[in-house]
């Protein structure tokens, strides 16, 4: 009986340790897993696929490094796709650390696709007043961002040639760990009809289903699984696909803990009932 009580009031550090050990081992295990592609991911892919060379798109970096494990793989996969299609990429950040991540991502792929800052892509400066950025770009991108991240004048940059406001932008893709996609919808889609796609953490994804249904967002890449899907779509297996194994095993471990907890709870409840009957 003692063990039941112990399980019910299990020291949470035992759960912590189990999980840590499991995740330390799983990266060395390789399981083949078939990744089925969900519709919202495919819609983003198709949208990019249909664009033609030189089309400008805005990529909004709305996450800080803490969300990198979940969002960086999909950011890379998406940017890779843009580079394959030779699109002009305009980075904005709704998070002060977003630009640093954009820099890192472009460093990783710009050699391969011969992308140049100012010519094929541009990092615009960060402005902490989000609504100002989101609305301002509906009027004039170069006005709201007079300078890019490195302090160059944005007017006259080759990548921004003939790009004035949202009307020139084919797609605004927001990678976000928060609710910034909602703000893009509120400010850019509601006011300026900008097409919006998002890549979000799995947590936030559930929140955006209504916006997908309403068409306020054209598509959505959902967490690491979504990144794995995008990697499959562009035929470039990377990080996300590899991590699905660890993911699956960790899920099973947590489910086992919940089951054990419930079994212990029911045994305990039955024992108590027995005791009560015994004394009565």
């Amino acid at each position: 009986m003692d063990i039941i009580k112990k399980i019910l009031h299990l020291d949470r550090r035992i759960i912590f340790l189990t999980l840590f050990i499991v995740l330390l081992i799983t990266p060395f295990i390789h399981l083949e897993m078939k990744i089925n592609i969900t519709n919202p991911t495919r819609r983003i892919f198709n949208d990019v696929e249909e664009m033609s060379e030189g089309d400008p798109i805005i990529v909004s970096m709305s996450y800080a490094p803490f969300a990198k494990p979940e969002l960086y793989p999909m950011t890379l996969a998406f940017l890779r796709h843009c580079c394959m299609k030779k699109l002009r990429i305009i980075f904005v950040a709704t998070n002060e650390a977003g630009m640093s991540i954009a820099i890192q991502a472009m460093e990783e792929i710009k050699m391969e696709f011969e992308y140049e800052h100012g010519k094929d892509y541009v990092l615009l400066a960060f402005n902490p007043v989000l609504s100002a950025v989101m609305l301002g770009m509906g009027e004039s991108i170069t006005d709201i961002f007079p300078e890019d991240y490195y302090g160059n004048k944005t007017k006259g940059l080759k990548v921004l040639k003939d790009v004035n406001d949202y009307r020139d932008i084919k797609l605004l893709m927001d990678f976000s760990a928060g609710d910034s996609p909602v703000w893009w919808v509120v400010y850019a889609n509601t006011r300026y009809n900008q097409r919006i796609g998002t890549g979000v953490t799995a947590v936030m994804a559930a929140d955006f289903y209504p916006y997908l249904n309403t068409g306020q967002m054209i598509g959505l890449i959902n967490g690491l699984k979504g990144a794995a899907e995008y990697e499959t779509l562009i035929n470039h297996t990377a990080e996300a696909t590899e991590k699905m194994t660890s993911q699956a095993i960790a899920h099973i471990v947590i489910i086992l803990f919940i089951l054990i907890g419930n079994i212990a709870y029911f045994i305990d409840k039955r024992n108590k009932r027995k005791e009560r009957h015994g004394t009565a």
């Binding site: 490094p65 650390a97 007043v129």
Partner: protein
């Protein structure tokens, strides 16, 4: 007067913002973006006061030799260090500023965030007990979705979990979210109107 003028300002600014929503004219747009630039200008001064309160607290700790006062030195050094490195060394690529961002801030943020993996496991273990009918629903829905989100879980349930997960997301979850969202929208509008019309004055301190 100390309250009336601020209340009038709130009313005025609030009303102007509502009105400008309906005016597509350039003037309205200029007015609006001008306002937004104002906040960029204002926020820095609030930040200076904010930083002041934090530093003040830590200086006091050091002076009083409180418990853990040594760590206060870490905060103060960290702040001024980063600020000066940024101001004098620049914040672009390849600077010390970016190095510190990459090797100090990034691991700290990422690890802090990763704690969630542990906490979600322990919270699930404690909270997901079939104590009541409602708790059982919570538990069952969570278990199905957890299985449905990974390829293995789907195999174990012969594809049942992912189909059901999709269904839960599209039907009951969506209904719940919509209901909550509409309620929240109503609440937000009510709160905004209360403030604009001065019915709610507690942000001014006492409202009596």
């Amino acid at each position: 007067m100390k309250k009336r003028i601020p209340l009038f300002i709130v009313f005025l600014v609030g009303m102007l913002m509502i009105i400008q929503f309906f005016i597509p004219h350039r003037l309205s747009v200029t007015f609006y973006t001008g306002f937004l630039n104002w906040f960029t200008a204002m926020v820095l001064f609030a930040l200076i006061i904010g930083i002041g309160t934090l530093l003040n607290r830590h200086f006091k700790k050091i002076k009083r030799k409180d418990d853990d006062w040594g760590f206060s030195i870490v905060t103060i050094t960290g702040f001024f260090g980063m600020l000066l490195i940024g101001i004098f060394g620049g914040i672009g690529e390849g600077t010390l500023f970016m190095k510190l961002f990459e090797f100090v801030l990034t691991p700290l943020q990422a690890t802090m965030f990763a704690l969630l993996a542990f906490f979600i496991a322990s919270a699930a273990f404690r909270a997901f007990r079939a104590r009541t009918f409602e708790a059982s629903l919570l538990l069952i829905a969570a278990l199905i979705v957890m299985l449905g989100r990974v390829p293995i879980g789907d195999k174990l349930t012969f594809g049942f979990a992912s189909t059901l997960t999709e269904w839960i997301f599209r039907i009951p979850n969506m209904a719940a979210k919509r209901g909550i969202q509409m309620g929240i929208a109503l609440g937000m509008i009510a709160t905004s109107l209360k403030i604009i019309f001065g019915i709610e004055r507690s942000w001014l301190g006492s409202d009596d």
